[in-house]
């Protein structure tokens, strides 16, 4: 029978998965977070609207920030040099503030492919890429990337020759990393703005490559 699907407990009529109601009691840390937040508001240190605005700011950051940085590095040799020398400073001048942390840009070439991971938690250049994808925080990605990066890359559809050296960066302390992917061939005449459209989130984590320009014509 067409409507008698087995997963009818987990799908609502249009076929979207239900998210179970979180009827369980609050955890210790959830209670702690609410208590601290309410105290901060009560004591006038912050306000509910400031907290909401901060969440909004965090959610508004997307990989297009990082893509602008990469496209500029491809087009502007002076900026490229500044970025490789001190990425925190160079991106700050573009309006991207990484705060107390430091940013390091690592560049892919035909000889070297860079890949970012944080084995300890989920360190990620959020000011340039937004919130990390769930897989970046998974134990599988974190533990396998330092041990078998080529197998992980293959699962992302990236197969590199043995002559390309893979350089994995484990963000263990105060640095954050952004990969500058190889500029695709045949993009010499593209504008910086159009080039930024080729720069995917994954290409800046190192689990992907920039989009070849030809595929945009399709």
């Amino acid at each position: 029978m067409p409507h008698d699907h087995h997963d009818h407990d987990t799908l609502n009529p249009p076929g979207h998965p239900y998210r179970a109601d979180d009827d369980a009691p609050l955890s210790y840390w959830q209670v702690m977070e609410i208590a601290v937040r309410e105290l901060l508001v009560e004591k006038g240190i912050t306000t509910a609207s400031e907290i909401a605005a901060q969440i909004d700011t965090m959610d508004a950051r997307t990989p297009s920030n990082g893509a602008q940085v990469v496209a500029r590095a491809w087009c502007d040799p002076e900026f490229h040099a500044a970025l490789m020398d001190d990425a925190s400073e160079a991106t700050h001048a573009m309006g991207f503030d990484i705060g107390a942390l430091k940013l390091i840009a690592v560049e892919n070439t035909d000889e070297v492919h860079n890949m970012i991971v944080c084995t300890l938690c989920s360190c990620y250049p959020r000011n340039l890429l937004g919130l990390p994808p769930d897989w970046y925080k998974s134990r599988a990605y974190r533990s396998r990337t330092v041990r078998e990066p080529r197998s992980v890359l293959a699962e992302f559809g990236v197969i590199l020759p043995d002559t390309t050296k893979i350089r994995v960066h484990d963000s263990t302390a105060d640095m954050r990393y952004i990969v500058i992917p190889n500029r695709p061939e045949g993009t010499e005449n593209m504008s910086q703005n159009d080039l930024s459209g080729l720069v995917t989130r994954d290409s800046m984590i190192g689990t992907g490559l920039a989009i070849p320009s030809l595929s945009l014509d399709a």
Partner: protein, 100 residues
Amino acid sequence: MQQHLLNESRLMQKIRVKHLMPPGHVRTPAYLRGKVGVIERSLGAFPNPEDLAYGVTARALPLHRVRFRMADVWGANAENPNDTLDAEIYEHWLEPADAT
């Protein structure tokens, strides 16, 4: 103290990550302890997270980026021996590779 054994410039010095397993909050990944690498660059001094985690005054300690060959981390099981792995390690976790 141990860190005086590191040479002045630090750069490209061959080091070993100390093989310690202390309790509490540390930022040196267990899979790199006891492994040999070279200092790729020095990053300056940063407040010691081993103190920060407990809310006590944290001394700023030198932090280095250390580069390891996969063969030196995973031995014969390395997927490709010449691929490399970089990690940030605080200086108090490093000793010269020839230290006994």
